[in-house]
Structures are given as structure tokens and as C-alpha cells.
């Protein structure tokens, strides 16, 4: 449940990330502090272990040679000091004692070394020296009891000091096998480290808490527009298409998303409104012929009629039915064109030929209205569906004749320009008022706001849909009182 919320997920990831960073930082700080705390103690301890080594050597040879001054090789030119830290003295092979028969030596601190190990203060340094068989050769009084003998590590090099409980101890193993150990109780340092750790974790916890609270607030702030968007979307989904997302800041990502969604809703709303209007218009267009049929038949049936009256009624019903049929055909055609179901043939056609056919078709109508049609289309190649393009030209010609004046003219011209075949149909009719021009390709739009027998108000919409399906364009220019020119462009290739 919680993991389905972006806010919670953000919060959890943010918390984990922050925890990692804080932990890394805290551990580093702690380690640095710890290293600093121990380094000084460790130096002191190492110095003391070396002193212990000196004292062990100064205590002389094994008890067998006791009393004799220790036999030493001639000192080299670096002097005795250089030898001090060099570990055990270099004995010649014949002088080297046999480790197996090497009895334990005694151990005493040299007088100058007494100050190094404080026997009295419990917090001071202590030492323990073991012989190679594990017996204690000597120790300071403050050395803790029951101390385990450190073992020589397998690796060579300096032995790192060890931490045993609250004791820090440095030690060395001499080549004969004695173990020298200097240690110190470091309770105060450890306490300080503990305090540091506590401070660090406390501070870290506090930072984590404050950051999580801030993160929660930030996430909430960042997500609020999403809540607005989803609230608006829910209302829109419920059918209230007038709802829009309230946008305070349009510059951020969510603001842009909101803008995109709003414009999508606008387009959806407009499309839906258009569809509604189209349906209402279609119903409206069907209502009038239905009214004619109903009124005619009801009137006729009110009483006995003469045969001529019945005939008239039937004829008028037939006209209404024809009109409905035309309308339904047009509606279906538009629906097919809209749905992209109407596949346009793509064949090479000669528009001059098509135009001539159309003129022939419209000629009787033009003759009846005393309109002259001039067709001046030279052979003009184009790719498309001859039948459908012919339908468009016929529609344009019919309009041009119907809206023409008596003895008016209709001119059809054709030319190729920029890879397009251009056909124009110009008439000398009444023209279309500028206010109506942008709408004339709209469905059911009529310049004359009434039904004229035989016209569905869909002809230009269908023409445009057909030309669009060919990837062409159709445009109109008109001047009231002078005439109208329709220009259609079709791709030649």
C-alpha cells in the first residue's frame, strides 16, 4: 500500500541514501579520531618495547655466561646508538647460544628506564617480559594479571599493537623467543572515543530526522501538482470536460506536463464537441425529411383523397426519402473516409481526361441554368484515384453552376507546379462572404442558413476528406459579387 505511493517510495529511497552517506561520513570521522587517539599511545608503547629490548640485552647473556660482560662484536663506525634498535646483538655462529638449551634469562629494568614504567599509577605504562617457554621473566607491578602471551604473527615486519579490552599493548618477539610487551590502560581514550561515537551518531540521527522531515515536505510539494492533475483527470474521466488542471508554475516539468495535458483535454473536448455537433446536425438534417413524410402521410390519411392528391403525397414522400438516402450515403462516406477505411487507388491518371468527364456530367445542369463551362486543362499527370478525384471535381462544378448567376461562367484550369497538379474551378457567382470562408469545409456548414433541396451540406467536407486522403490540399478564395475559386493541389508522384 505504502509502496504504491511515489511520495513514500521517494522518502524511503531518500532515507536509505542519506543513511548511507551519513554512516560513511560518521565511520570515517570515527576512524580518523580513533587513529589519532591511538597513534601517540602506540608510539610511546613502541619506544618502551625497544627500551625493554635494550634492558633484556643489558641484563646480559644467558645465565650460563652470567657475570661475563656480554660478548659483542666490534662496534662499527656508526656507534652503539645505531645498534640499539637493531634487535638482538649479532653473535657469531659459534657464540650463538643453542636455543634449545637456552635457559631463561633474568630481567631487570635498567635504572634509566625506571621512569618509563610507572609502577604506582594504575593508568600508567606497564610491561611484561616472557621467556621463550612462557614463564614471566619480569613485569611491572601494575601489569594486569593472567595476561595471555602474544604470539608472533606469521608475517614479518613491525607487529601492530593490539587492543585487549581496555589495554593497548605493543610487543616484540626476540630471535631467541622472549616476548617483550609494553601496555597501557587506555580507559580515558576509549571513553573519549565512545563519546565521539555517541556525538557522531547523535548528530547523524538528528540530521537524518531533519532531512527526512524536509524530504517529506519537499516530496509533498513536488507531488502536489500530480495530485491536482489526477484530481482534474478523474473529473474529466467522469465526463466533465470543462475541467482543466490548475497550473501555478508552468516552467517546471510537472507544469509542462500539465500544460500538455490541458491542451490534450482541449483538443479532446473540441473533438468531442465537434462530434456532438456533427451528430446533432446529422439528426437535424434527417428530421426535416422525416417531418415531411409524417406530415404528408398524416394529412393525406385524415380523409378520403382523390388519386391526384394521393399521387402528390407519395411524390413528396419520395422526395423526402431520396433526400434522406443522399444524406445517409454522404454520412456513411464521411465515416468511411474518417476511419481511413476508404483506400484510395494510386494510379497514374490524366487530370485533363478526368476533368473533361466531369464537365460532361455537369453539362445538362449547366445548360438548365444557362451557365457556360470552359474546360482548359492540358494533359496533366497525377497519382491518385480517378473516380474519387472526379467526384471532387464534379462536386466543385455542381456548386459552381448552382451558385452561379444566369449566363454566368465556370472555368476549369489545370497546371503543374512544384511537383503538384493544380486544378482550379472558378465561377462568376455570388461569392462567399469573408466571414463564412473559413468554415465552408465544415460539415453541414451552409453559407445560406437553410436547406436547399438536393444539398446535404456535406459535399465540400467529403471533397476535402478525399483530397486529404490523397495527400493534397484544397483551398478557396472568393469575392462577394464576383465569384469563387476553388484550388486543389494533388501530388504528381
Amino acid at each position: 500500500m505504502i509502496f504504491n505511493s511515489i511520495r513514500w517510495r521517494l522518502q524511503i529511497w531518500y532515507g536509505l541514501l542519506l543513511l548511507g552517506v551519513l554512516a560513511g561520513f560518521g565511520i570515517t570521522a570515527y576512524e580518523l579520531q580513533r587513529g589519532k587517539q591511538f597513534r601517540r599511545t602506540d608510539e610511546e608503547l613502541r619506544r618502551r618495547v625497544n627500551e625493554l629490548g635494550n634492558a633484556l640485552r643489558a641484563n646480559g647473556p644467558p645465565p650460563r655466561e652470567r657475570g661475563l660482560p656480554p660478548h659483542r662484536p666490534p662496534r662499527d663506525r656508526f656507534g652503539p646508538e645505531a645498534q640499539i634498535d637493531d634487535g638482538p646483538p649479532m653473535l657469531s655462529p659459534e657464540e650463538r647460544p643453542d636455543p634449545a638449551s637456552h635457559p631463561p634469562r633474568e630481567f631487570h629494568l635498567l635504572p634509566r628506564q625506571a621512569g618509563l614504567f610507572d609502577d604506582t599509577e594504575t593508568n600508567g605504562f606497564y610491561y611484561v617480559v616472557w621467556s621463550r617457554d612462557g614463564t614471566i621473566l619480569g613485569h611491572s607491578t601494575n601489569a594486569p594479571a593472567n595476561m595471555p602471551i602474544p604470539t608472533k604473527p606469521l608475517t614479518n615486519g613491525p607487529i601492530p599493537p593490539r587492543l585487549r579490552g581496555e589495554f593497548r599493548e605493543a610487543y616484540q618477539v626476540t630471535p631467541p623467543g622472549e616476548v617483550l610487551l609494553a601496555g597501557r590502560l587506555i580507559t580515558s581514550e576509549l571513553d573519549e572515543l565512545r563519546r565521539t561515537a555517541l556525538t557522531l551518531s547523535g548528530a547523524g540521527g538528528l540530521i537524518l530526522l531533519v532531512s527526512m522531515a524536509g524530504g517529506w515536505w519537499l516530496a509533498g510539494r513536488a507531488i502536489r501538482p500530480i495530485d491536482d492533475i489526477s484530481a482534474a483527470a478523474v473529473k474529466i474521466a467522469a465526463g466533465d470536460l470543462s475541467q482543466r488542471i490548475d497550473l501555478q508554475d508552468t516552467s517546471n516539468e510537472l507544469g509542462r506536463l500539465g500544460t500538455v495535458l490541458n491542451s490534450t483535454f482541449d483538443r479532446l473536448g473540441a473533438a468531442l464537441e465537434e462530434q456532438k455537433q456533427f451528430t446533432a446536425d446529422a439528426a437535424h438534417e434527417l428530421r426535416t425529411p422525416v417531418s415531411v413524410v409524417l406530415t404528408q402521410s398524416q394529412t393525406a390519411l385524415n380523409r378520403e383523397r382523390t388519386a391526384a392528391e394521393y399521387r402528390e403525397t407519395v411524390e413528396s414522400c419520395q422526395r423526402a426519402a431520396q433526400r434522406m438516402r443522399r444524406l445517409i450515403e454522404s454520412l456513411l462516406e464521411l465515416a468511411r473516409l474518417d476511419g481511413g477505411q476508404e483506400q484510395m487507388k494510386r494510379e497514374r491518371i490524366d487530370l485533363a481526361h478526368t476533368a473533361a468527364d466531369c464537365v460532361k456530367l455537369v453539362q445538362p445542369l449547366a445548360d438548365g441554368r444557362k451557365v457556360n463551362i470552359h474546360c482548359a486543362v492540358m494533359p496533366l499527370n497525377c497519382t491518385g484515384d480517378a473516380e474519387r478525384i472526379g467526384q471532387v471535381i464534379t462536386n466543385l462544378l455542381t456548386n459552381a453552376v448552382n451558385y452561379n448567376r444566369e449566363n454566368g461562367e465556370v472555368r476549369v484550369t489545370g497546371e503543374a507546379r512544384n511537383g503538384s497538379a493544380i486544378i482550379t474551378v472558378a465561377d462568376t457567382g455570388q461569392g462567399i462572404p469573408p466571414g463564412d470562408l473559413p468554415h465552408i469545409f465544415k460539415r453541414f456548414y451552409r453559407v445560406e442558413k437553410s436547406r436547399t433541396a438536393g444539398r446535404t451540406g456535406l459535399g465540400l467536407s467529403i471533397s476535402k476528406a478525399i483530397i486529404d486522403a490523397h495527400g493534397g490540399t484544397i483551398e478557396v478564395a472568393s469575392e462577394v459579387g464576383k465569384g469563387t475559386i476553388f484550388t486543389m493541389r494533388l501530388p504528381q508522384a
Binding site: A280, A283, H284, E285, R287, T288, V290, S291, V292, V293, L294, T295, Q296, Q298, T299, N302, R303, T313, S316, R319, A320, E448, K449, S450, R451, A453
Partner: protein
């Protein structure tokens, strides 16, 4: 009763005019807004049937202009059935609103109701003495006996009955009983009055010489 129909669909107009004439109304017709407005403003119609989609002037505009000068009851006849259109029609001053396709009987009933309301007559039956005029059935009975009248005669009685107590001038009667296509021979009205008197009693219609005719209560 004289009614103007403004409708641009010729088949519908003809059928409507025929149906209404057969009901005894005098019918004038107009096929566009301008003509319709001119007629509506020039004559005292008892009702106007007005389509909305009209050439030249649409129905809204015709209604708005009629309302500037006339109180003639207007019945809007339209294919627009959205309620905002109905509200707009009624708010603009239409008295009733009928959506296409309509039932002829309903349209006729609505027209009768409209005309009745305009004459402050709320019931379909008008009683004058022992004569009962049933405006719904368009029939008249005298002392329980049904009396056969021609449509024109009935229209004359109904018009006078709806305006009873008022003196109706001959001109007004002509205007409401005959349409623009009738050759209004001056004695035609006298013939109708005389026929009604034969059927319903001589004293039923009182002649006010120099003024006109009147039913009941005029002095």
C-alpha cells in the same frame, strides 16, 4: 382563425398548409424569413408557425423583430431539440416549441391551445346559452343536438365566441377568416353569417350596423 406558416421546405409547407386549411384555418405561407416577417408585421394573425432554419432571416431574428411590434402567438417549429435551443426560443418570446419530426395531431392541438390561451379561454369548450362550442373537436351543439357547420362557418363562430362581448369589425373578420389567396368578395361574409344564423338561431350573432358583429353581452 388565420395562421401564418414560415417554413422553407416546400413539401413540408404544403402539407402543413393543407392540413391546417382542412381544419378550417385561413393559412398564409412564407418560404423565407424576410417574407415571413413582412407578412407577420402586416396582418393580425392568430398564430405564427415559425421554422428556425430559414433563408435570408433566420427564425430567431424573425421572432425578435415580430416581438418588437406584435403579441401574435408564435409556435417555433424546428429540428433543433437541444434544451438550450428550446430555452432560447421560449426566452426570445416564442409561445410554444415543437420539435421536428412532429405528430400532426399534436401540432394541431398545440395550435388550438395557443389560440385559446391568447383569448384568455382556458377550457376547450365554450358555452353560450344552450350552444356549446367544442374547440378540440371543432364541433358545435345546440341544446345537446350536434349542428353541422362548414369549416368556414365554424371558424366564424369560434372567432366570435373567443372574443365574445366584443364587437368584431367586418375587416377584422375578413382578416382572420380568409387568407391572402381568397378572393374576398364582400358579400361572402354575409353569406356565412346568414348560414350560421339559420343553424344556431337568428339572435346568436348580433349585427352592430356600421361596426360589425358580436356574440352575447354586447350593448
Amino acid at each position: 382563425m388565420r395562421i401564418l406558416i414560415i417554413e422553407d421546405e416546400p413539401d413540408l409547407l404544403r402539407a402543413l398548409a393543407q392540413a391546417l386549411r382542412e381544419e378550417g384555418y385561413a393559412i398564409d405561407t412564407a418560404t423565407d424569413g424576410e417574407d415571413g416577417l413582412f407578412k407577420a408585421e402586416s396582418w393580425e394573425y392568430d398564430a405564427v408557425v415559425l421554422d428556425i432554419m430559414l433563408p435570408k432571416l433566420d427564425g430567431w431574428e424573425v421572432l425578435r423583430r415580430i416581438r418588437k411590434t406584435k403579441k401574435t402567438p408564435v409556435l417555433m417549429l424546428t429540428a433543433r431539440d437541444q434544451s438550450r435551443d428550446r430555452v432560447r426560443g421560449l426566452d426570445t418570446g416564442a409561445d410554444d416549441y415543437v420539435v421536428k419530426p412532429f405528430d400532426l395531431a399534436e401540432l394541431l392541438a398545440r395550435l388550438r391551445a395557443l389560440i385559446r390561451r391568447t383569448s384568455n379561454q382556458t377550457r376547450a369548450a365554450i358555452e353560450i346559452g344552450d350552444i356549446i362550442i367544442d374547440t378540440a373537436a371543432r364541433s358545435i351543439s345546440r341544446a345537446g343536438e350536434s349542428v353541422a357547420l362548414t369549416a368556414r362557418e365554424y371558424a366564424l363562430v369560434e372567432y366570435l365566441a373567443l372574443h365574445r362581448g366584443e364587437v368584431i369589425t367586418r375587416t377584422a373578420l375578413y382578416e382572420h377568416l380568409f387568407d391572402e389567396n381568397d378572393s374576398t368578395l364582400s358579400n361572402l361574409l354575409d353569406v356565412h353569417v346568414s348560414n350560421v344564423r339559420k343553424k344556431l338561431g337568428h339572435e346568436f350573432i348580433v349585427t352592430r350596423r356600421g361596426h360589425g358583429y358580436c356574440i352575447e353581452g354586447c350593448t
